[in-house]
Subunit: 314 residues, 2 copies
């Protein structure tokens, strides 16, 4: 089935304990579309400036990402720069954000894109997210969104409207707590369910993911790496692997969602192994299958058998 | 088999977002011994003052904890007080620490205790931990220890000596990073292995646990609760459930360690549901089995089958 992502394509300049990179390909729609492209046909809708490099179009096309919705206009591409902490690579500080052409992003979907089966609304202005959903010819089988504190703090009412309209939300721990106004994550997920989505996906970075799917809780760790080069894009890659698998299989059962979450974690673990999408863009089937199997070994334990064979002295 | 714990018995005064409690029963050896008592015979070696309440002796005895090693001397029992953050209940600030009689704790094991099969050295001065190990008549089947930043910062050389001598260490994330002088947890675990222990258990609080057992990694989340009343003692309860099960089964295989870790997490999840050991001390077999099963449901996912059935477009 077809998957559409609407989000940002950017150039990122990052400093991490492992080095630095200037004007590297980034953006939520970039990571999402490359990650999902391994599993599902995917179309990207985003905006870039005249400085956007042909090699980066070529990279997306190499992954069979449909870039017909990648608008190119006068001006510069969205730029973000940040520095990651030496002690805790999950902590980062934004040095500079230049919206550039992204400030005037007004997605206008093509007829083909309006028929997508699955829709991922990456982290953009919630008014635009609602506007995009309104352009669809029919309600997609699944609409998922990501957001961030900037919108939670600044456009809560608009965000409420789109959250109410989607099936699945991706938020990080802090965002979920702030959005739900509730420090306890299980309760925060319950409150987000009340707004509308049947699936609440709470991203915990190096601590994994907590999912509440119609109240069923699933928790998975992050894949522990001995070297994290650049965490940028891990969350969007996670979402891309997740929704990409669901788009490929159409499996929205509890088991399907759990498998998608594990695959998303696996994909995210590759992204952070190098700067930009360098590692993500060079994956093989064998590498992904191997890490998925490692993830199984990482988390497996023997349950209690039917006789409840737990030693007990009482 | 028999299990010996040497650590603290204390009175804690805590403030949490859910309330406050003055002079509640606490201490590492208290939580550890009650948790492990459900699974294994356990003996406690600790020191208290003349203010220690008979009802608290009775509570330990009710759980069949051998308190013959609980020394009672003139003076006051160890007191700790702290306040937990409203936004993040895992963050706490110590308001006051009064070592009292604990300052002069010099464990002198009885002949029976010197023959214990399993030994847990709770968080006390590493010189005392080494001294206790030296008193054993023969090397126990398993020696495990817990420590904290106070000793890592202040008695690193002494701590190295006892870490070198044990089989298993319990540290929290920050302690493991500090002790190994390595921010990456997987590498930190590898460095701790180099010092000696074959099993490194990194406690991550609400984020679960990461275990490196002879290099095999196991990661489990914490059980997500919708109400955390008081996190005090969760780590010691985790260790008590963990080592208690191993003492009961003697199973030090990879599978045995993983099951022990899950049971430890289950036990810890009960402790935080109420102040002090109130919830921990009233558990039934049925409740523990039920939550273990919930933990299985929380973490299970379907692996790739033998044909590596991952959709792949390449």
């Amino acid at each position: 089935m077809t998957l559409l992502v609407v989000g940002s394509v950017a150039y990122d300049s990052v400093q991490t304990p492992q080095g630095a990179r200037e004007d590297a390909l980034g953006g939520s729609a970039t990571y999402f579309s490359i990650a999902s492209s391994y599993f599902s046909p995917v179309s990207l809708v985003a905006i870039v400036g005249e400085d956007f490099q042909p090699e980066h179009i070529a990279l997306l096309e190499k992954h069979d990402v449909d870039v017909s919705g990648l608008e190119r206009v006068d001006g510069d591409t969205f730029r973000w720069s940040g520095v990651y902490s030496t002690e805790d690579v999950n902590q980062r500080e934004t040095l500079d954000t230049q919206l550039n052409v992204f400030a005037d992003f007004k997605p206008n979907l093509s007829e083909q894109h309006r028929n997508a089966d699955f829709l991922f609304l990456a982290n953009i202005d919630p008014e635009l997210q609602l506007e995009v959903l309104g352009q669809m010819n029919q309600r997609p089988k699944l609409v998922a969104l990501d957001s961030m504190n900037f919108w939670i703090d600044g456009k809560k009412n608009e965000l409420d409207k789109i959250v109410e309209a989607v099936d699945m939300v991706f938020m990080d721990e802090g965002e979920a707590r702030t959005y739900a106004n509730e420090p306890n994550l299980r309760r925060a997920a319950a409150r987000i369910h009340e707004v509308g989505p049947s699936t609440v996906i709470i991203k915990r970075g190096e601590h994994g993911v907590l999912i509440s799917n119609e109240g069923n809780l699933f928790s998975a760790p992050a894949f522990p790496l001995d070297r994290v080069v650049d965490p940028t894009g891990a969350g969007d890659t996670f979402a891309g692997g997740f929704v990409g698998l669901i788009s490929a299989t159409g499996d929205l059962s509890e088991a399907g969602i759990r498998r998608a979450a594990v695959l998303g974690s696996v994909m995210g673990s590759f992204t952070v192994e190098d700067f930009s999408a360098d590692r993500l863009a060079t994956l093989t089937h064998e590498q992904v299958v191997e890490r998925f199997s490692e993830f199984e070994r990482l988390t497996q334990f023997t349950g209690l058998d039917k006789s409840n064979s737990l030693p007990w002295r009482a």
